[in-house]
Amino acid sequence: MTAAAGRAVLSIRNLRKEYRAGQPVLKDISLEIDGSGLTAIIGPSGTGKSTLIRCINRLVDPTAGEILFEGGDLARLSGGALRQARRRIGMVFQEYNLVERLSVIENVLSGRLGYLAPWRAFLRRFPDEDVARAFDLIEAVGLEESFATRRADALSGGQRQRVGIARALMQAPALILADEPTSSLDPKTSVEIMELLSEMSARRSIPTLVNIHNVGLARRYAGRIIGMTGGAVVYDGPPAGLSDADLKTIYGGEDFL
């Protein structure tokens, strides 16, 4: 193992996923995510970006390969060990996936569920320090304190995504995965959310892996861009190095440029 690999928070080796046998969606992907900054994955729809992100925290089970994270292979974990690993990985979803009928603060506190005894979860007896931290995070993601007791279904899309980010941060994660966090948002809100993600990633030094459709946003906020097409990585480097020729390889054709 090289010194660089040792520093990596996450190393993916030969990751393969087939939903139907013989038709791989991910073709032996290998990646290293090191300890800082925001990494954007770009690529056309249906190219396996979401599958890749979801394999990492095992919302999707990979077919083959290794996902090394904090000394274990995520691809082989199950039960309690998998849950312990998931506690360390925050996730932000395209459609926010907040529990609509719960209040904002309950959604944020959900980030601590991996550490909480069930009776406390049922009775909503969260430790005081968790509640205090949840309030801090609600403000840190740009919402006012008064939002805490509002029900999630009363919020706008941008506000919901902020709550989603607060929930992920509440886990105090070693890694954040964001699965197209801006695809359901208008352009202005998308910028705000990407700004927030990159700011949190930098300030709290949590490496963040973002799936994104918008190449402009990716260039603007990511320190590293991974271009995928047909289930394989075809570009991996800084935004500055991403040429029109690379984009053509990634998306095929050039009409969109």
């Binding site: 209040s103 603060i105 309950e106 909503r124 969260f126 005081d128 509640v131 205090a132 949840a134 309030f135 801090d136 403000e139 840190a140 304190e145 805490a148 007791t149 300030r203």
Partner: protein, 268 residues
């Protein structure tokens, strides 16, 4: 990081008013349960030999008296089917016009709405067995009383649910038809019906399914069907016949459920 707040912020799930409302409900519910437990008469001696009695029950039931089926079960089973089906059809015929009266978007007359609602509530508050008692007193024992009691009990159910489906119908197509000056019957047939047809069939099937179960007991009060045979077998303590009848009812109910879910997935 934001600066730490001066005092630790606390959070509770409910506002004080909500907490009071909820705890009052819990207290009332708990009190009702405790009161019922204390007041209800349970004779312990009966409980002690319950396992024995249950074992005895099954021993007496098995083996079933299969020979009884052609003699005493087959005909009343068919009759049960007729009671349930005919009762459902009759209920639909009576309930559908009423549900148009009950739907506030179709009938804009609060008095008519209320009358229809009142019929539905009265129909639903009286159990089908009680309807059966009434109709047996009027028309004498037999399947006719059964059909009528099933029908009268079902009017409220079908009418309420179908009326709600009518009220949920989209205004667009109906306004479009009204705008071109279509007669009321056309609005009904081409505006409402296509929208509520799935709801209609699902309500009708659901009620038919329920009515098959209900018609099996009407015979206990003389309103025809397989319940008559069950009542006779119980009174004579022919448990092997009781077992057979229960098995037949079970089979019919399961078959009905399979049929209704098959129809439902076909037409809905």
């Amino acid at each position: 990081m934001t600066a730490a707040p001066a005092s630790v912020r606390r959070w509770t799930r409910f506002t004080p008013a909500e907490r009071v409302a909820r705890s009052m409900l819990y207290v009332v519910a708990a009190a009702a349960v405790v009161w019922s437990l204390k007041a209800v008469e349970i004779i312990p001696e009966f409980l002690y030999d319950a396992p024995e009695q249950t074992a005895d029950l099954f021993k007496r039931m098995w083996p079933f008296d299969w020979g009884f089926y052609p003699k005493g079960v087959h005909d009343v089973l068919i009759e049960t089917f007729h009671i349930a089906t005919l009762g459902t059809i009759l209920a639909i015929l009576l309930a559908v016009p009423l549900s148009f009266l009950a739907a506030r978007n179709f009938t804009r007359n609060p008095l008519l709405n209320f009358v229809a609602q009142f019929v539905f509530v009265s129909s639903r508050s009286v159990n089908s067995l009680i309807w059966a008692l009434l109709f047996v007193a009027i028309f004498g024992p037999g399947a006719l009383a059964g059909v009528l009691s099933i029908a009268f009990r079902s009017i409220g159910f079908v009418g309420k649910l179908f009326g709600e489906a009518l009220e949920e119908a989209q205004r667009g197509p109906i306004e479009a038809l009204t705008a071109v000056g279509a007669p009321r019957i056309t609005i009904l047939g081409k505006g409402y019906w296509p929208q509520v047809e799935p709801a209609f069939w699902s309500v009708a099937l659901l009620r038919w399914d329920i009515n098959i179960r209900e018609s099996a007991v009407l015979g206990l009060v003389g309103a025809g069907g397989i319940g008559v045979a069950l009542d006779a077998a119980l009174n004579n303590l022919y448990w092997d016949q009781v077992g057979l009848i229960l098995a037949v009812i079970f089979a019919v109910v399961i078959a009905t459920e399979i049929v209704t879910s098959a129809i439902r997935s076909r037409i809905l």
